[in-house]
Symmetry: C2
Subunit: 105 residues, 2 copies
C-alpha cells in the first residue's frame, strides 16, 4: 500500500480533497483515473486514503510527465466534473521529493 | 481540514505508514506529536488521514525547520517507539512544494 518508488529525486502530486455528497459517477471515475495514470509515461506509483479528508499522492519521474497527465483528455473531463459535482474543496501541490527513508519489519 | 499554507516554495514531510495491532500509547503519542509540531519554529500546518494506510503530511518553512523537528527529543522517542511497537512499515519523504493551486465552493 506504501508506494515503491526509485531513489530521489522524483516528483509527487499531492491532491488533498473534501467530497460533496454527490456519489454519481465518482467511484467509476476514480478507478478509471488510476488505470489511466498507470499507463501514463513517467508514472511511478500512488497512495490514496480517505476518512473525511481524502489524500491521494501520485509519484512521477518529472514535471513534464505531470504536465502531460494533467492535460490528458479524460483526466481534463474528470477535473471538470470534479469541480462541478464531486469535490467541495481541493488543493493540489506539486512537489520535488528530495530525500526519503523508510522502515519495514 | 485541508491545510492553509503560504504561497510556494515551502516544504512538506510526507509520512506514509501502516500500523501494527499494538494500540498501547499510540493515540496519546499522536496527539502529543501534533501539539509539539505546532509549537515548533517553521511549522505551517498538517493533514492526516488513515484508512488502513495512514498518510500524515506536515508543512514547513525550510529544511532547517524539518531537521530541528526530527531532532526534537520527545519526537525522537516517538520515532523509536514507532519502530518498536506502532508501525509495521513506513516511508518518509522530504519534499519541496514548488507549485500549488486549489478550488473551493
Amino acid at each position: 500500500m506504501i508506494a515503491t518508488t526509485p531513489p530521489p529525486p522524483y516528483y509527487a502530486v499531492i491532491f488533498s480533497n473534501v467530497r460533496t455528497d454527490v456519489d454519481e459517477g465518482y467511484a467509476e471515475m476514480a478507478d478509471q483515473m488510476v488505470s489511466l495514470a498507470e499507463q501514463q509515461p513517467g508514472y511511478l506509483g500512488h497512495e490514496s486514503v480517505r476518512d473525511g479528508l481524502g489524500i491521494t499522492i501520485s509519484y512521477w519521474e518529472s514535471t513534464e510527465a505531470i504536465k502531460e497527465w494533467k492535460a490528458n483528455t479524460d483526466h481534463l473531463l474528470a477535473q471538470k466534473f470534479g469541480r462541478e459535482k464531486w469535490y467541495s474543496a481541493y488543493k493540489t501541490r506539486i512537489a520535488l521529493i528530495e530525500r526519503d527513508y523508510g522502515f519495514e519489519r
